[in-house]
Symmetry: D2
Subunit: 439 residues, 4 copies
């Protein structure tokens, strides 16, 4: 029985590029085979719980705008959580998307004790299990919210108070248990408060050691319970904290190396967080691929003129094409996927806006994927890069990289040959024009 929230909205259909109706799929055709795989299997699109069903439309300067019935003040929290679950699964089916994602606190109200909170989460997980079986919708990943409650105001794993660390450990254990039970493909950690507000009260070394130990416990527990998914860290440079330790992909890599975790943990990369860290999205994806820690993506778009996390829906096809180019070059997703970590603008009040936003962005993403596949199939871009570094394929230069040389030996060669290497065009505009052939 429908909640009626979406009125008589029917499941969105694929019509094709000629459609002029923005409430149809023009490019996202889940069964279309692109680069050897069904589009659905490539993209592994997921709808997130928090922005769609938990955020009331507030911002730092204004309150609720959406007035969703399941967030009404004074309602029965568990009743509201159940209604929310009903609406959520209706939305998954209207969109025809295969995955969803959630934080523990998104799906069920916090109780007076952690035990009570866990019980609430587990009760909703029971409902999820049933709904997932009925609909075929799967869990891309679960995570624990360790940043909203005031107990975490100074961090969770990095809190100066060891009791908060313990509390966080207990909360993550339950979130991992639930994720495991629901067949989640990954488990994610985002450390929004794992950072500092002011160096004046902070000991970074101490906090990093705490975070390193915490993450090792997560990995140990994963293996203990036989969780097969990936453990993913989601980098973000700041906000809410002034500085967050998981600043960007390269920073997290150094952290993983320092605590022996580089083979155990992968990255969940968000476009908006990349932008806030001063990088393009494709940079973060390429970097993760280079370091061997690419995992999954949180898809959205940060407004380039705003200095905070705007979580727009990704709509710029050329940018999405470059992102999927990197994803395909990394071998595509294994356990990971494309999670819509995007939210409506707070003026988009209508239920149909939730649908429209996901449909519009899914279509842009599908175009991005098809363009990326076409770039790879064309081969000129990849070939150009290979040719550019071809000199390093020579045996003698391979030797240099492997350690079989020295400053003196190379200096000797330079002097012996009066070497003066000539620069070669980098052809950026050619490559950009080439990319534009396919978007």
């Amino acid at each position: 029985m429908s909640t009626g929230f979406f009125g008589d909205l029917q499941p969105i259909q694929f019509v094709g590029p000629e459609s002029r109706d923005p409430l149809t799929y023009r490019h996202y055709n889940k069964d279309e085979v692109v680069f050897g795989k069904r589009m659905e299997d490539h993209l592994r699109l997921a709808v997130c719980y928090w922005h769609n069903f938990c955020w009331p439309g507030s911002d730092p300067f204004g309150g609720e705008t959406f007035n969703r019935t399941w967030m009404a003040a004074g309602g029965d929290p568990m009743g509201q959580a159940k209604l929310k679950a009903d609406v959520a699964f209706e939305m998954f089916q209207i969109l025809g998307m295969p995955f969803f994602t959630f934080h523990d606190r998104d799906i069920a109200p916090e109780g007076k004790t952690l035990a009570e909170s866990n019980a609430n989460v587990n009760a909703i997980a029971d409902i999820f299990e049933k709904k997932m079986a009925e609909t075929g919708v799967k869990l891309l990943w679960g995570t624990a919210n360790m940043f909203s409650n005031r107990r975490y105001m100074s961090g969770a794993a990095t809190n100066p108070n060891p009791d908060v660390f313990a509390y966080a450990a207990a909360q993550v254990k339950n979130a991992m248990d639930v994720t495991q039970r629901l067949g989640g493909a990954n488990y994610v950690l985002w450390g929004g408060r794992e950072g500092y507000e002011t160096l004046l009260n902070t000991n970074i070394k101490q906090e990093l050691d705490q975070l390193g130990r915490f993450l090792n416990m997560v990995v140990e527990y994963k293996h203990k319970i036989g969780f097969k998914g990936a453990i993913l860290i989601e980098p973000k440079p700041q906000e809410p904290s002034k500085h967050q330790y998981d600043y960007d992909v390269a920073t997290v890599y150094g952290f993983l190396k320092a605590y022996g975790l580089e083979n155990e943990v992968k990255m969940n990369i968000e476009q908006g967080h990349a932008i806030l860290a001063g990088h393009s999205f494709e940079h973060e994806l390429h970097m993760a691929r280079s370091l061997g820690i690419f995992g999954s993506v949180d898809m959205n778009r940060n407004d380039y003129q705003c200095g905070w996390d705007t979580d727009h829906f990704g709509m710029n096809v050329p940018e999405l094409a470059l992102a999927y180019y990197e994803i395909l070059m990394a071998g595509g997703f294994t356990t990971g996927g494309t999670n819509f970590d995007a939210k409506l603008r707070r003026q988009s009040l209508d239920p149909v806006d939730l649908i429209q936003a996901h449909v519009g962005s899914a279509d842009a993403i599908a175009r991005g994927l098809k363009a990326a596949a076409a770039m790879i199939e064309d081969g000129r871009m990849k070939g150009f890069v290979e040719d550019r570094y071809a000199g390093w394929k020579k045996l003698e230069n391979q030797e240099v990289l492997k350690g079989g040389s020295s400053l003196e030996a190379l200096a000797e060669r330079v002097h012996a040959q009066d070497l003066e290497p000539q620069p070669v065009s980098g052809k950026q505009e050619y490559l950009e024009s080439l990319a534009n052939l396919f978007v």
Copy 2:
């Protein structure tokens, strides 16, 4: 015999805080003992060659403004280099600063071959040796310019062309030899072109491997020639490249770990580069201290409203105080020091402006140092931080950090105790007010 460049300007004297003459030292009193050491030994101030003697006052929209005689078009390059050296040592003595720093290409003209370039560098180094002996001025560090010549337009160690890598190796060898010969306290690498302009023509993994191997060769050569100083990397996020691999301290740390160099290489941290990377200067210093790789500083100030490297002279005492607080907390400089990597504004045409800028900034730095020492001696800031993390000193929590616990064990404790940790004020405003007592 004086070049006459500075007219009849006499060595700058320490007068004391009551002086109202900006061409006196009011706070930089080299022999004053602060926090157990002479100020000169604490700060180890160094004058750089490039901004003062090589930059003609140009910017991307305009040409030379300074019209220094030793840069006049059509002059004899080696004669100009010698005149430049004379002026430089006159300036060191007027300022009474103990150190200087240079790139190989700053001090001598590039020749037709690397051999010729090396000969030029070595000839000027002969002159330096004599002048250093006469004046007592010492070399804080040397480095090689591997970013100005067009051969390096696509990188030095990270160039797609292995011949450029070889050329760079040969150039660094000579720069290290010269630095060693002149008793340099450190050797620095700044990778302005070790990055990329566009991902479309770039293979990051390949380039990082090249850079890792190159740096290992530098370290191997250091040990071979018995160079006692530190090898320092200077992080910068971008400019001239769109992205530079030595983005910031945390990024470089990950790179060092990946290539086994974390015990061999330290950081030369620049205020302006920190700002461009989205960090405060004190963040980068604290991070380097936490990771055990603090080395030296390039002192300047980036205009907070400009998105490029402005290299202003540091003049903001409260900010400098926080920087030296971190430096003192790191144990102070060993081989490192405070290098003025700052340049005149291009409208500051007069020779005396060179002196004024260094004097004004040295005074601000001295005030910063004294304030930092006072903060530490007061003890309340440090004590606050220690108290904040005191819970982690407990044996049971030490055990947690050492690995003697697990998510399950901690969850058990949380549930057994119905633990609900209460947040405690972080007292940022108190700490900021406290800091203000001393600046």
Copy 3:
């Protein structure tokens, strides 16, 4: 009878610079005469209502941290508003500050209709009147909150719906009436939603016309009721909106000119908003002075590494000195003053933190004022600027500025004299060093 909120905290005393207790005034000595006026009369310090008594410590990623009793869920709104007023006036007296500021919605709960909301505001205003008479605390300015309620999500005066415009007009009328009744020295408008989220649904011309008309009505009403204070606009470039029409001082000036308001409206300039607009605080102050529209300041400090409005307490003395230098050069405040539009960090939970923050910042401000006065009394900075433009004082050049010349006439002179003007040093480092003599 005290509310007990601040425990046994006594009014903060001036002790002097030698004090090492951050809960004393070391520099803010209200009766000390600086540059010909009592410090209190120069600075006209004001405590704001919103950050101190209405904000619960939430941010976009987390909820309430402060747990103030007067914000407790389920309380009687008017009773809470009265308690809040009691606490507020206790705080004003502990700080010994002469002014306060508020939005209508800060002081009283919103009712079911505007009439009910107005009645609530007026009831609290009755209480204010009594308390102001008892304590001598005065109102620097009042304003209306037209950005928090969802009715204003698409703007107040710039709303596409004329009914919202009417509603806003009615709300401002009441806020002006209350401000007038309480003897407010100014009335402020900050247009947080007077802007847009996306150009795709926006007609800027239409919205500017609405805003221009609205502001004219405000000015007309001011004259009608005989309000003697200034009407002030507070520029901000963005946040909450993607773009706000009152972007910065220069933009607002153009708007005022377009709608004939440049002689009726002045600027309330906020440090943090200046920074977000890409300007220094002193730039905005100098610009307002140059355009003849300087009014008042919202004093705070934006974290230079954060892209959102952080509203830190101003603590950097050299920066404050430059700000008060501009304020003094503008002739100082007339109706305006220094409003602390600054908030605690959300981890600063203790009531005493509210006091500490204001005391620490007031002291930094007082140092800034004294330094600025000393700079002016020294005269070298001002003299340097006057000398720099001295050529324009010549009669013939005055004529040029007044319109008595042309391109041809000037060209003729250039050719006749073979004019080649020589550049002169701008001496920025000298001037910065000079400023440092006084901070």
Copy 4:
């Protein structure tokens, strides 16, 4: 006779979207009629002189990379200027673009006196006249370079030295004369040094008055010589100066109003400058349209992760579509056009890279134009905006805007009706999806 610079490169042909060769036009089909006009007449594409023929590939950290023969050290300046003109017109013809643009100093060397410089400019203008007649290439606009020579280091019109003001006036006179002679469609002023480096040595009011008078003289001279084109100002917020007075469109508008120029001067809007000022390109275009001062565009793209002027070639079709949407909504270009103010990356060494960059970007621009036309023809976007403000079309609300109301009158209505306006969805995601139908 060809210079041979472009080898045997033939004029670029339109082939159509199916082409996979980036050296063909796939979308820029000059004779294709779009929205009622030939594409060439819509876009009015122009090739600029400075980036293509004058910039040697240098950046602040490195020298020349391009090694163009006409920039070789020691060459005959006028001979080189003639060769440069030959190459330029060859390039215009290979591209088949109808317009070009230049600064006076781009085309001819600076002489020992202004008279000599003018003579050089005029000599090249003679050559241009002939070439323009032969090829049909026209001049979109001319301008004077008043920022490169050291005499202008402290500004041209805003220089503290009135002699520099006079010199600038004389230089502009000649540049306007040449522009007039060559049938230029506009005359542009970009004030790269009309700003300040530090407020400490600056009197903004004085400088604005100088700039206002200068611009009035330009307008007076335009009328005197009967120049029919538009006088255009090109806003930029900073770089090279810390702050430039022509910050953005809204700022310039205020300046024009202050000096009575708002009906005489229009805007030349650059994408990269918009971005540096914190705006989207379409914002600046929409703002200029709203203020009635839209003129022309400098087309390029700033790297979103770089804080300096990068002048990339515009390649992002969805962004270009929104720009041309605004241009078409403004009525399209009259005297203005689309000037490629974009430069090669400095690693793009090959002559063909110059061609490739313009071809690739022209194609992206053509796609943008066609998409914008389709959006307007579809009508839903425009219709949505009109409907959104429909309430203001009502007579009573028109009256309000015209001045026939007051705060009291509106308050009375609100209270009489117990008005509570209900918010309506802004539908940003729908509109973004709609836009994506056409790109």
